[in-house]
């Protein structure tokens, strides 16, 4: 049953993404100033939101683990952090390619870029910490604490960077600007693609979560195989 649900989810995500790609390439017009390149934006921004949502949920799941001490929250936190990172990479890479064209450089130490990179580094550190702790109970507890610190510092880095000048384009979505800076058609496309990426992230999360549970099963089996001999 669960298998079938996963296959169904996977198929839905792929079909949705293909449909979105069709619209992005063949239906939507070019942006006046930037030409074709602006289209990476349809992955750049939704990728960022997906990663940010993953970070947020990782913090919540970790707090839930510390409160309830139920394994499921630990596995969920681990899985969602890992799933968030490819989306963060998608965001960073498309951003760099866009920057190469529009700004003429691959990377600039702009606050927003910097904070996105720092966040990715912090969460990569979280995964490294998990790998390094052999005892499952200690691993769950310590990485949950780390996730909470990580989330606090991601928020802190992001907020403190907002105070500084930036050459990164400002908010474009009508939620933040009150409308007018972006073509509604394009904004709709962004929403569609965000939805598609979230669907994909949900699928990856489900797979990764199951793997994490199985990993723990292996650890206790190994412990059983080694003990009482």
């Amino acid at each position: 049953m669960r298998e079938k649900l996963l296959y169904g989810l996977g198929l839905a995500a792929i079909l949705y993404l293909v449909r979105n790609l069709y619209v992005i390439f063949l239906v939507l017009p070019d942006e006046l100033a930037q030409g074709a390149i602006y289209r990476v934006f349809y992955f750049h921004l939704p990728g960022y939101f997906t990663a940010a949502l993953c970070y947020l949920l990782a913090g919540i799941f970790s707090a839930m683990y510390l409160i309830t001490r139920k394994w499921k929250w630990d596995s969920l936190a681990a899985a969602i952090t890992e799933v968030g990172l490819p989306f963060a990479a998608m965001n960073l890479i498309t951003g760099m390619i866009w920057g190469r064209i529009i700004w003429g450089i691959w990377w600039t130490w702009d606050p927003r870029l910097t904070s996105a990179l720092i966040s990715a580094l912090i969460y990569a550190g979280y995964l490294m910490l998990r790998q390094a702790i052999p005892d499952p109970t200690e691993r769950a507890k310590n990485s949950a604490v780390m996730a909470i610190f990580a989330f606090a510092s991601v928020i802190f880095t992001y907020k403190s960077n907002e105070w500084f000048r930036t050459q990164h384009p400002g908010p474009v979505l009508s939620i933040r600007t009150g409308g007018g800076t972006i073509d509604p058609q394009m904004e709709w496309m962004l929403a569609h693609n965000l939805f598609a990426l979230l669907l994909l992230a949900g699928l990856l999360l489900a797979i990764r979560w199951r793997q994490e549970e199985r990993q723990r099963e292996i650890e206790s089996l190994r412990r059983e195989a080694l003990s009482f001999s």
Binding site: G47, I97, L200, Q211
Partner: protein, 53 residues
């Protein structure tokens, strides 16, 4: 509909975005296999131990 300006870089952008996801899916699948094998060997080991007891 698509004009030629910046077209190659747009292509790079999409290719990069999808490569990342595909690589991640490949690691997921390979891990799935490894985990399955490991569970099987451990279960066999424990069953043998129970028998020899």
């Amino acid at each position: 509909m698509i004009e030629a300006r910046n077209f190659t870089y747009m292509f790079y952008g999409f290719a990069a975005a999808w490569t990342v996801i595909v690589i991640y899916v490949i690691t997921l699948v390979s891990r799935e296999k490894k985990l399955g094998q490991e569970v099987a060997t451990l279960k066999k080991l424990i069953a043998e131990k129970e028998q020899s007891r």
